[in-house]
Every structure is written in C-alpha cells, then in structure tokens.
Symmetry: D4
Subunit: 205 residues, 8 copies
C-alpha cells in the first residue's frame, strides 16, 4: 500500500530498538521511529543516537534521510492548544519524512474564536487539513463547517476527569455536525499523516 515500515517504539527495550536500527542499516533502508520518548532515546547507545534525526516534542526520529521534499505545503496541521502540539508535530514530522511539507498552526482553539478566524483563509487554501484537539474538541467541527477541504480530526489525550484520556474528544469528533469530517484514534498523529498522504496520492495519480 506504499508506506515504509514505521517502528512504534513505546514498550520496546533499548536492546530491541538497537537491533532494529542495525538491521535497517544492513538492509540500507530508512526508518520512521514513532512514540520514542526522550528518556528512551537517551538510553540508546551513542553510536545509534548519532544516526537518528530526533525531535523530542513529537517523540519521533528519522533513521536515514527522509524522502525528498515534493513541493510547497498542501496540508495544514492545526492544533487547538499548545498542549496538543505533541500530536500535531508527530503528524508534521511524519509528513516531512514522506517528503510532504506542511503548514503548522497552533493555539487556535474555539474558546478563543477570533484567533481561529484570523487564520481560516490560510487553512482554506490547503486541500487537506489535519485538526488536532483535546477536551471538547470543537476545532475540527468549526473548521469542517467553514471549509470544503478534506478535514481529518485527531483527538488528543489532554485533559482530566471526563476528558477520559481523549475518549470525550474522540466522541465529540465522531458525532460532529460538520458533514464528512473523518477521525483517527486518540493521539494518532502518525495515522493522520498517513491518511493525508493517501489523499495527496489520490490527487497526484
């Protein structure tokens, strides 16, 4: 289906990860590492760490060079709050790995509506929008009502109490009144990027 193997690092031992990198090196392939928190990354041997382009907020790494950039951004990655950036950055980093530039916009949650309205025209120009939000997760609904692009909602696990680790945000997106909003699993910035890439391919084929 056209995606490289991505390595989901959470829960894997450092020995196992080092082994995976060694095998990739032998085969001469690149790898996208996801869910690799800084503590886990810092325990990798120095030699392995040196070969990984690591970014802490998204907890992601590139082993080998990412795919070459394929042109100007066609995807907006929009996050409702600064707390949601660990997910929107994962999406943006995954897109970049596959050679797709993106327009990142942050802190435009609907409780401060005017900040969002100031950016709507920029977002509207993109054929695909990834909208990341936690808690009440109203951002993708508002966006889906304002623009006709493909809108991919990603709920985050931010919040407490009834936020329930992102379950409320997920349900709010799935029950959205905006027609044709599509949704990913909680915190799945990686998957949202893959979905966006599927759309770009549909455009390009």
């Amino acid at each position: 289906m056209g995606f490289d193997e991505a390595v989901f690092c959470a829960g894997k031992s450092v020995t196992h990860l080092a082994q995976i990198l060694d095998q990739a090196q032998e085969k001469g392939i690149r790898l996208l590492l996801t869910r690799l928190p800084p503590e886990q990354f810092s325990q990798l041997p120095e030699a392995h760490r040196a070969k990984v382009d690591y970014e802490a907020i998204s907890r992601s790494g590139y082993f080998g060079s990412p795919h070459a950039l394929t042109g100007p951004p066609r995807i907006a990655v929009v996050a409702a709050g600064t707390s949601d950036v660990y997910v929107s950055r994962e999406a943006a980093r995954t897109l970049r790995y596959y050679g797709a530039a993106s327009l990142e916009i942050t802190d435009v949650g609907v409780a401060g509506l005017w900040r969002l309205l100031e950016r709507v025209e920029d977002i509207r120009h993109m054929p695909v929008v990834i909208a990341v939000a936690g808690m009440d997760a109203a951002l993708p609904t508002v966006l889906g009502g304002l623009i006709g692009s493909v809108v991919i909602g990603v709920p985050t696990s931010v919040g407490y109490g009834v936020a329930s680790g992102g379950q409320s945000a997920l349900n709010a997106m799935l029950a959205s009144c905006a027609p044709g909003l599509v949704v990913m699993n909680i915190d799945n910035g990686y998957g949202a990027a893959c979905a966006a890439l599927r759309v770009l391919r549909a455009i390009d084929r």
Copy 2:
C-alpha cells in the same frame, strides 16, 4: 429553597396524574408538569386536560396560572439545532412558569458558524445564557469564550452511535476549554431554567 413542586410525569399512570391534579386543585396551588408527552396528556380525562395549559414540543403543562411576568428577558435560551428544541423550549416554558421572560434563539450550531456570530451581540446583553446542544456540543464552549455572562450548558440526547444518548455531548461540555461553563444533566431543560432563576434571584436580592 423557593421552587414549587414540579411533577415529573414520565412513567406515572394517568390515574396517578389525575389524582395529583385533583389534590392540587383542592389545595389551591399551581403546578408545573414536565416530561408529559402528547400521548400521555391525551389520555388524561377531558376535564383535567381543560385545566392544563399544555405545549407539545416541550412536553410541559401549567396547571393553574403561571407566576406573573417580572419584566423584560434577562435570559437567552439558545439551541444549536432544530432537533434540540424540545429541551430549549422546556427551559423557556419553565422560566415563563416562574414569571421570567426569555429570548429564544434556534439553529445557531457551530458547524454553521456565521449564523451564530450574527446573534452574538443579542446574546451578550443577557446576564444568563442557557446553551442547548447535542452531538459534538460545541455551542456552549464557543459562547463561553465569546461572552462573560453566566453560561449554562444543557446537552441533548439527539444523535446516534457515539452520541450515546447525550453522553458525548455532556462530556464535551464538562471538558470545555471555556472557563466557568456550568453543566446540567442530559435533556434537563427544566433544571437549567431553575439554575438561571437562582442567578436572577442572586441579582435581585
């Protein structure tokens, strides 16, 4: 605490309801009847029906005259969709029972944001706002971010699938990013009106 006895009619037999009305008549007191669907109301004896000011959408009735009107509206009752009106009307009818006029606004859900923005100034003038919404329930969050009045969110049981009888709307409101949004049980337009009345009393005392 200053509220008349309200009769929650759902699940009560017609005989039981007639008995309650007879007792009220004997005592010379007025009654607010809630959750009285048309089918149940139509089964009441004609003599009893004649004494009730009934409204079908809100499924509510006044037995005896409601309290006298106390002035111009100080409460906005705002519904996201036309499907939510059974709840917003219950709130408005409860307010009217207690003598409080209200400003009713419907079909201003955030998936069609501009319709809401056109009415924001009208809403802002009210010290209390009851915001009724189902599904993603983003309306109270957007309102709570735009205005400084008391905003009371009421989730509705409208929708299917993950809407889960209103649970998703409820959770979205409770997890709202708008500071100080207060929330009622699902479909509880009656309770929202009582809460609004408590605020009016606080203003008036």
Copy 3:
C-alpha cells in the same frame, strides 16, 4: 463548505417534514432526506411522497432532481455482509445525489477471505474506498493493508452482545493496524459519502 442542507428525518414529525418539503419547493431547492424509514415515509401525504425519489433500504430520498452525474465511478463502496447494506446504500445514494457514481460491492467480509481477494483489483483502481462493516469490522483493515487509496471505514450497528450497537466495530477500526485508515461514526454512510466527496474535490481543484 459546499454541501446542501441534508434533512435528518428520524424523530421529526410528519407535519414537520411536510413543512420542510413545502419550504424547499417554495425556495426552489433540492433536498437530500436521510434516516427516513419506510413507515415514516408512508405517513407523508401522497402529494409529498410523489415528489420524493425514495429508496427503502438506505432509508433515503431525493426531493428534486439530484445533481448531474459527473463521470465514471471513482469511489468503491464495499460492504462486509448483506446486513450492512443499509449503510453502504446510504453512502452510495448520497454520492449519487451529489452526482458521483460509485462501484458497489457486497458480501466480501474477511471471514470468507477469498471472496474479498477476487475483488481487490477492482477496488484498487478507485482513488477512494468506503468500507462498511460491523461486528469484528476487519474489512477496512485488510483493505487498508492491500491498497494505497483513501480508505474510509464505517462501522455498522449490526450484531448483538459485545457488538454493543456498533461500538466494538468502531473501536476495531480506530485501533486498526493499517496506516491512515480514517473512520466515521457508527452507521454514518451519509458522512462517509461527504468525506469521499471532499477527496474528489481535492482531486479536481
């Protein structure tokens, strides 16, 4: 955002529906009617029924002519079982309303894997695939792993016990191992079609 108003009929009274159709006639606009079960449709006045192109399985109707067809099918609508057809037909009917032909394929659930494999090449040619399934809902995962098109999963409420009205199917799709699978609310064939249309527009712009 480019979608006509769709009328969600479930729970609306016959009087209310007739009123909506009359208003549409006056304004000279077409309407898509969704979630209109045969019993409800048959209670509409004959004059109104005559103006609606109704289909019972999908519980949908066109008031006024649908948009003109825009070319050969670019969307596959695939249903795992014959019980899921009420949802896949809703998607196909919504697409047709907006002028998009679709390729409908049914009864290719993964418990009978070879039936699916026989149709994979037909499906692969479409840039967008709507995959409808209930219960274990493994169809979109298998499809998402086999082809690179945009795959939109729609869980159905078919089943009993832990199927929980579609919740298990929904969760299985959201937790899918296939990268970039996007998901709709339970039984939301209408929404899946709107999402597919957003992709077609992205292709066409």
Copy 4:
C-alpha cells in the same frame, strides 16, 4: 469574556514554565498558575520561584499580585471532607486571585449531617455556593434543597473502586433531585470559581 490567561501547569516541562513566566514578566502581566504540584514547583529555578506566591494544597500560584479585593465574601466554598480540600482551596485561591473573598467551610459531609446543619445559616447568606464532594457526593444535593442561592457542585476524584476517579460523584451531582444544581468537571475547582465570578459579574452589572 473577561478572564486572564490561566496556565495549566500539569504536563508542562520546567523549561516551558520558566519561559511562560519570563514572557509574562516582559509583558508586565499577572498570571494564575493551576495544577502545579510541589515537586514540579520545586524544580523551577530559585529566581522564578521567588516571584510566585505558591500554595501547596491547592497546587496553585500567583505570578504578580492578584487583583485587589473587592469586598466581603459573597461566595461560600464548602468541602464535604478533609480529603476534598485540594479542590476547594483551588476554588478559593482562584477567587482570591480575581479579588473575590470567600467563606471556606470544611468537613461537613452528609454522613455526619449535624455538622452541616450547624453551618447552614452561614452558607445561606451567600448568593453563590461552591459545594465540593467526592464518593457519594450528596452534599450539593442537600445544600441545593436547603437554600435558594446559586449552588455549583464540584465532584472530586477522591475514593476507590466504584468511585472511579470521581465519575460516580459527578453522575450523582448531575442526577441530583435538587432543582437547578449546576455541575463542573471532576476536580475542577478553578472552573467553579470562574463560574462563581460570572455570577458575581451578573449581580454587579
């Protein structure tokens, strides 16, 4: 809507927090810090800590002087048990930040009813009551039945087993028989204070 930016500190890195304080200092604005546990606070650089009026129980801090006091208490903050004080103190501290004094009353849960009844008259004089309780969460219901003020229920995550991190307390409050009781998310003392402030503003305007 008239609230300063509040900084939700949980999950933010120490570097990020220090940066936020530095920016506030440059802009010359005050900040309310919430959900800042002692361990996190103690890791801030000494220079930053010195500028924060920190209180450990409520896990809250004032950066810059709080708003000036606006008069005698008009809000009662009532906690059912000593274990609920982390939430009631957060409410009281937020109120004080915005210049509102409050009357704090603790350990008046309904399993020891007479302790509550001794304080009812004091509470009744306040136009707004914040009632904080976990587990069976019966306190706001009893209060809402005894007094006509605005009663804001805040469930806490205290307890084990079916207490379910506050979900049972939340549901008990939402399902309360006391008319017009309004409810916040679990542990959301900050939000309860904001709601109370909205009421005070409605009184004062």
Copy 5:
C-alpha cells in the same frame, strides 16, 4: 438456606407461568411471584388469576397464603420519592410473604431534608432499614450516618441521562461515606427483603 422458590416472571410466557402455578398447586406449595407486570398478569387465565393475591405497584403476587405474621414490624422500608415505590413495595410485599411486618415510609428524599428528619426517630427504632432511592441516591448515606441499625441500600432505575438506569444511584451507594452501608442490585427490592430476613433470623437464632 431457607427461602422458598421465587418465580421471576419477566420474560416468561403466560403458558409457562400457568404451568408453574399448576405444578405448585399439585405439590401443595406456596409461591412468591415477582416482576409480574399488570399486562402480563391480566393475560393469565381467569382461574389462575383468582388464586393469586396480586398487587400492581410492586408487580408481585402470592400464590397460596403467605407465611403467618411473626410480630410487630422490625424493618423500616424507606423510599426517597414516590417514583421509587415500585421497589420499596416489592420489598415490603416480600417481607409480608415471609411473615415479617414492616414500617413503610415514603417521599423523604434528602433534597427535602426536613421531611426525613421528622421521621428519623421512627426509623431508628427498627433493627433493619431498607433505604430505596434513585438518581443521586443520597438517602441511605444520610440514614447510615444518623442511625446504627443495619442499613440496606437499594438503588432504583428512576431518572434519565446520567442516571443510566440506576447505575449512578448504585455507585453513589457503594461509594458512600457512611460506614457499613450494604447494597443490592438496581431495583432489587426482593433481594433487599431477603437480606433483611437473614438479619432477623440471625437475631432470632
């Protein structure tokens, strides 16, 4: 363990029920019929109905004479609201079947606290108290805090939204702050009576 066979009638066909009664008659044994709604009872053949001492509110029947009364009431059966009486009456009828008189008290929910306080002394004299309540279900907690008798809480399925068919009431009782409150399944008045009878036997042995 000393209980007669009780016949749980819900879901049993009328033919099956008639058969059960015939067999009991042949064996010369008495039977307690529970969960037998009026519609189901009225479909039994006249000859069978004539042999059953039926009571509609509790949906219960005695086939054959109940056990002889064993003395004055030692059990209080207390219901929070008039809507909870279908459960409290089931408890009282089960007790009477086994020869135990009971003191029934209704409409003493804690949202109207003074009504309860007027009856506390009557309740305190009973060694066993069955406390029936729905929604916030605070009654057993308040009673358990006021008196030292055995207190058996029975949640009811009364209410809507988060009441969730009695689940919230059940959880509130299980999480109660009153030490030693014991709890039954939702609507299980029959079981509460059996528990109370176990206590009476422990007293009498």
Copy 6:
C-alpha cells in the same frame, strides 16, 4: 451511629498523619488507621510508629488499644484466594478493633470446590459471613446458596483484563442468584466489618 472515626490514610501526607495521631493522643482517643501501606507507615516518625499496632498485609493500624474482646467469634471472614487476603485481613482487623473475634478461612475459591465444601459446616455456625473474592467472584453466590446466615460479599481488585480493577467481581456479586446477598464497594473490607458489626448490634439489642 456508633462508630469511631476511622482514618483513611491513602493520599495523606506523613505530616498530616502525625498531626492526626498527636491530636488523638491529646484527646485521649483511640483510632483505627486504614489503607496505610508499609512504605507510608515506615516514613512516620519512630515515636509515632511505636504507638501504633501495625499489620502490613491489611495495611491497618491501631492507635491506642482496641476495644475489649466481647466473646467467641460470631463472624466468618472467608477469602477465595491467597491474593484476596489484603481485604479479608482488613475486615478481620477492623472487627478485632471493635472487640469482635472472627473465624478467618482462606483459599476456598469455587474453582476448587471441595476445599470449600470441607469448611461449609464451620461457616454455617456463624450468624454473619464476610465473603471476599475477586475475578469471577462466585464464592459469595455459592455460600449464599448453601447457608442462611447474613452473607456480605466484598469484591477485590485482584486480576487483569476484564477483571477491570474489581468491577467484574462487583457486578457478579450484585447480579448473584443467591437471594439476599449484600455487597460492598471493591476492596472495602473495612466497610464489610462495619456492616457485620451493625448486624451483631441488632442481635445484641
């Protein structure tokens, strides 16, 4: 209602606990300490630890001498597995604190039925039985079917997966087919003991 204040230690700081003990000493009262894990106890100052009769498995302590023993055991405390002992010991320790001896029986879960059957006669002699079990939690049902005493079920949080921290065990007990089985919150050995004491008092009065 006749119970001393019990101190629920979980989540309380060591300083707070020491303070509570000091106050008790000043007032000359005894205290029952519950949910005090060894790590927390070991952090108390030596002087305070010396005054507490601590037991690690039940995580409970007596500050001051417990109430005097009142006679031979009248309560059986039965645990299904060795993993459930932390709860059954809490019950037994609470009973002893209040002067009630108990008969402790362990490892008689129903998956090894004959071990239970060997002890049934011993258990039957007790007017009250506390039955502690996790996972499928079938022990109280089997006991409730075999003996006529008061049976108090206590679910434990033992297990994984669907055991869900004791929720499955709790539900299995509440849904039990054994008539008159009463149930406590998950892991609430303390509450079960208080319930048993209420029964003993009913016997003794």
Copy 7:
C-alpha cells in the same frame, strides 16, 4: 472451514427471508436459520413455513433435513437456569443440525449447588461441555474446576440492573479462576455449538 451458511434472521424482512429460502431450494441446499422469533416465523408465507422444522424456544429452524446423526452424545449442554434455555437449546439445535447428539441438562445453577453435584458424573463423561449461564455466571467456573473436558462458557443476557444485558456474566466467565475455560459472545449458543463441532472434528481427524 466446513460450516454451512447459517442465516441470521433477526432484522431481515419476511420478503428477504422467503427469497433466501427460495434460492436455497433452487440450489438444493439445506439451511440453518437462527434468531428467528415466533412472530417473525409466523409472518412467513404458509408454503415456506411448511418446509421449515421450526422450534420456538431456540428461535431456530431447519430448512431441508439436518445432517445425519453421527453417534451417541459427546457434548453436554448445561444451563444454569430455566431462563437460560433459549440459548442452550440454540446450541443443542445447532449441534443436531450438524448431526451431533447432545446431553441437555437444565436448572443446575450454583446457588443450588447440590443439584449440580448430582449431575457432575454425567457431565464428566463428555469430552466437550457447553455451560450456559447469566447473571453471576458461576456455573462454568465451578464445572471447569471439577472436570478436565473442554468447557465452553456462554453468557446469557438474562437479568436486570448490573447484569447489563449479559456483560457481567461475560466478564465473570472471562475472568474465571478455572484454567482453560473458553468463552463466547453473549447469547451465542450457535457459536458455542460450532466451537464444540470444531473439537469433535479434531477428535475425529
């Protein structure tokens, strides 16, 4: 995998069912009809009904002759209560359809343990046991502890309140202490029979 197509009838229209039977007749194949309630069956045309060997309790039908009997019973189908028979009969009827006799045993729930113990030896002789139970669902655990055969647990949706449509029974079986107990979806007697047939085939191959 060796199973005929089974027709899950619930939710299918009478027209659709008649069509399916006609097609089967044309192809000359037999069919197992499941979940066909008497009301639905009675609406089939007389000609179709005449060709179906229908049984009402299990809501199942054979269209065409079932497979020939293959020998004496090797499967025990055990139901805890008479209310569970709709599921155990579905299992037995499915087995008979495929030519497998079974030993049906009913009303041996563990709340009346001795009735079960009297039948244990009969059950032990069978290499496969299907154990059907609702509510606390302790039967399969007790059986799994007593015998070494393959034990297949089937939870039923019998009960109310926390029984939650069979969810509690399901969880109790999955969390069972008896090693190697396998479990089916709620009410899935058909599936249990298929599982038993897979075991018989493993024995026979």
Copy 8:
C-alpha cells in the same frame, strides 16, 4: 481437572514467592510460575533463581523439570505482531511445561495479509490454533474463516487510545463473524494453553 497449581506471581512479595518455592521443594512438586517480570525475578535470592528455568519475554518460569514432551507439535501459536509475543510465548511456554510442543509463528497480522497467506497451510495441519492479536484483532477471524481447526483467540493489551488495554481486541474477537471462534481474557496466554491442552486430552482419551 488435571492441571498443576500455577503460581500467578504479579503482586506477590519476594518473600512470599521464596516461601512458595521452598514449600514446593519440600513436597517434591514442580511449579509453573506466570506473570513474573524480570525485575521481580532478579530480586529472588540467588539460590532460588538457580532452580528456576526462567524466560523473560513470557515472564514465566519452571520450578522443577517440566513434563516430558509427548510428541510433535499439534498446536500452532500464531501472533499478529512482534509486540504480541509476550502473550504467545506465555502460551507456548505453558504448553511446553505440560509436555506439548507447539509451532510458533509471528508477525502475520492481517494488515499485511500476504505474510499470513504464506503460512496458512502450515497452520491448517494443526488441530488446535492459538491466535494472539491486539488492536483490531482481526487475525483470529481471518484464520477461523480459512481453517476448520479449533481456534482460540487471545486479545492482547497492546495499543493506545481506543485499544483500551485490550478491550477493543477482546470485543472484536467475541463479535467475530467466523463461526465457533472461542476467546480468552486479555493477555491470558496461560489460559489459552490450558484450553488447548483440554482439547488435546479430548483427542487422546
């Protein structure tokens, strides 16, 4: 029923475990240790560790020699992903403990369908298949549709968000369209092995 006592080590203190091993040594019996993570194992005294054949991935140990091998593999243990191996290895180790060889196959999840299809013939030869999978858990459904052997599904707790600690995988398996698929609790590789052994015994008796 023919299983040795297995020691579930999670949550047991090192002292307790050492004691259990000492007692086994005295009695001269072998033991299977499950859920013994490396950290816990490494804290056992050296002398005890030396007597245990420990394997870290499955977190299992043999104390004493396992049962003698009884022939070539008759059970396939198939894992969808490398992350599921902790469960499939627990099954294989349990089988080996009881003398049953097994065929282990890994990384054949259905998102990469062709890898599975290459191995189907190997799997088909086994009378029993244990299929281990997390997240969407489609592997057992696909296998159950392809082969006629006994298929035992084991969901794993791998994944995040809606994976919900394995609950989604569990439900997907229980709701499977493949007839006769049987299911274990989440992560219960031990139980799956015991179920497989019950089948082997049924074959061998």
